[in-house]
Symmetry: C2
Subunit: 399 residues, 2 copies
Amino acid sequence: MKLSANQTWNHHVVKKGNKSLVLDKIKYNSPISRASVASQVGLNKGTVSSLVNDLLEEHLIYESGPGESSGGRRPVMLLFNENAGYSIGIDLGVNYLLGVLTDLNGNIHTEKQITFKNLSYEEIETKLFETIEYLLKSTPECPHGVIGIGVGVPGIVDKDDNILLAPNLNWRNINLKEVLEERYNVPIIIENEANAGAYGEKNFGAGKDFENVIYVSAGIGIGVGLILNGSLYKGSNGFSGELGHMTIQAEGAKCRCGNEGCWELYASEQALTRQAEKLDIPSDMQDLEGLVTLAEHGNDEVIALFEQTGDYLGIGINNIINIFNPQQVIIGNRLASSEKWLKDPLNKRVAKQALWFQQNDLQIDFSELSTRSTALGVAAFSIENFLSVSIQQNNTAQE
Amino acid sequence: MKLSANQTWNHHVVKKGNKSLVLDKIKYNSPISRASVASQVGLNKGTVSSLVNDLLEEHLIYESGPGESSGGRRPVMLLFNENAGYSIGIDLGVNYLLGVLTDLNGNIHTEKQITFKNLSYEEIETKLFETIEYLLKSTPECPHGVIGIGVGVPGIVDKDDNILLAPNLNWRNINLKEVLEERYNVPIIIENEANAGAYGEKNFGAGKDFENVIYVSAGIGIGVGLILNGSLYKGSNGFSGELGHMTIQAEGAKCRCGNEGCWELYASEQALTRQAEKLDIPSDMQDLEGLVTLAEHGNDEVIALFEQTGDYLGIGINNIINIFNPQQVIIGNRLASSEKWLKDPLNKRVAKQALWFQQNDLQIDFSELSTRSTALGVAAFSIENFLSVSIQQNNTAQE
DNA sequence: AAACTTTGTTTATCCACTAGACTAACATAG
DNA sequence: CTATGTTAGTCTAGTGGATAAACAAAGTTT
């Protein structure tokens, strides 16, 4: 928990902080008794009892039957009520839309995916509404209902959740947040796809155990989500992580961004398919899915292409390691499906070039949530927000 | 203020937090009355009175005479007691040693610089002791004496303040912290030179007003200090910011680190002097100082060399902007002395290539503290540490 | 001089945490 | 089955620090 700027410290803050500690303890160590919470968190038994009662009233936790005795009175076990509310997360891709309805632990309750091509903003908006409403209808009865809707988009999102630019969708300056807020009247979060993916993996996927995680979203382009000291770093305007346009080849190929030698010209899906055009393969096999099929069938040229891409991925990841000294780098998004061929050349490049001391305690993994990282990530933002606000509000709402 | 892991919230924390708020208010807005502190910080008048009394007892602040009346009783003005203690900061360079004694506001009270060449570790240690003892002797009488010693080194420092590797000094695995702790019995901080420089500029120099500042220490090599969300980011083992070994030219020139095309091969002092060797200039003018002199005299070849270096600096800084979306990038260390010739090509490169939205609210500056960034930075670490610990201790020490 | 303002202290009250007593509910030994 | 010991959870009194409001001090304004 962190204090917002210019806020003073008082008993309110203390209670909120401790309540959050207790809730977290229960969430990640359930089932657990009040006594164990007290001794593990370091709070007094009475304090824990009182906070637990609050949390029970708010339906954020519940009591299950008595647990095993360890030589005395049997404890009442407490569990996090993952069904106290549900969160909607939407991954809005360039030619697909993936919506999930999750409980408060990120378990998927309903999932809906549609694909499309070359739709206008209005048409996509309609599809988005349909998806959200489908998910809303599928929400089970629960104390808090749908606690928020999050949308991950392949573009630049500023501090006020405005979509400044989504090149592959041809969007500019779109205030999707306001539209959704008016229509659904729940908290809305709009976030860059890579940031969301990073948050998804950090909360529910491969990054659960680490504090410094860099998520490389390798899709048509490359975006990067930065989890530093356990929380998402967004930069001063929300534009951090544009590592796709990091120069790895001075005086290299021209990029549409105006720069030369950008990483994503060498290591993205786009780079892969462009190279594939030069090969002697059927034109309907020149997309990622086609190339994967060909590689599965042992096409050496295509496999070499994947390996080259893996190598270039390694160059950028080596830079990432030097810059951030992370505990973990996760490769996600579309290219993660080609782990099989990317992994070895990537690891080889890093092993060869990364400074020796950087290679200790370093882990390079592929996405665990696969195509769901982003959708689960934005769902996680809402959940996080709900839990902290909920704890605050009920503090003041008490008579 | 941030809570350390696994700590609970109680009255103590509240008091510490508020005391810190009050002290900061006085420090950065002095002279200021109790009443103003209360209304500006948002605390009750009585609370402020009590906290101010604590701070007075600890000599961290003092009362000056009465201020101007604004229609009622005249206020008693409070000021931060910058002379409550002094901090020693040492910049241990490859061939020089700069020591400063500063007050708690980073004002330099005593300064001592020596230069040397090719000394062994033991010899440098002796020089270091001499400098420290000189500074200790020059410390004025004050309530808290010397509150800490910090040393900035040109190398890799791990989480435990061990100097893992300082290539240009030929040091490996040196525990300077322990040596100094035993000898001087005050808190010791060892920090990488770039991290310290970043902290120095953030606290006392060009970066005072910003929360996301990237400090590029362009010396023999390149190191980078990262101030993210107002505090120094060190990575999971303390090895962040090795941007000197960021690849900007895949398949480029070989670096001693084992990698190819590292930034510092193109944009450091080393890069500059290596290029200078190829020019037709006297060999005793081939170091940075000589090149500066030649450039001052209008040597076109040398000026072109500086400009090329500025351009390459721009490439890396463009990467930095894409990665961090900072409010400010500061170029410091030895190359900052050549601002005159580096600035334009650097800015041109960034203006041409950085994404348009990244260029808003972005400032690229050269060091304000010039050669003193690192020394002041390590001094600042001790000060920061002293003030927070001091506030804590006196909380418990009260009878 | 009287009335008003502003500063800073004091007092009473409130809130959340702690320590420790107490009650409840179990296990185990005899 | 009873006595004793152990663990879980609640209750009570006490404490620390914050707040609100009254009050005292020291001005200015009319």
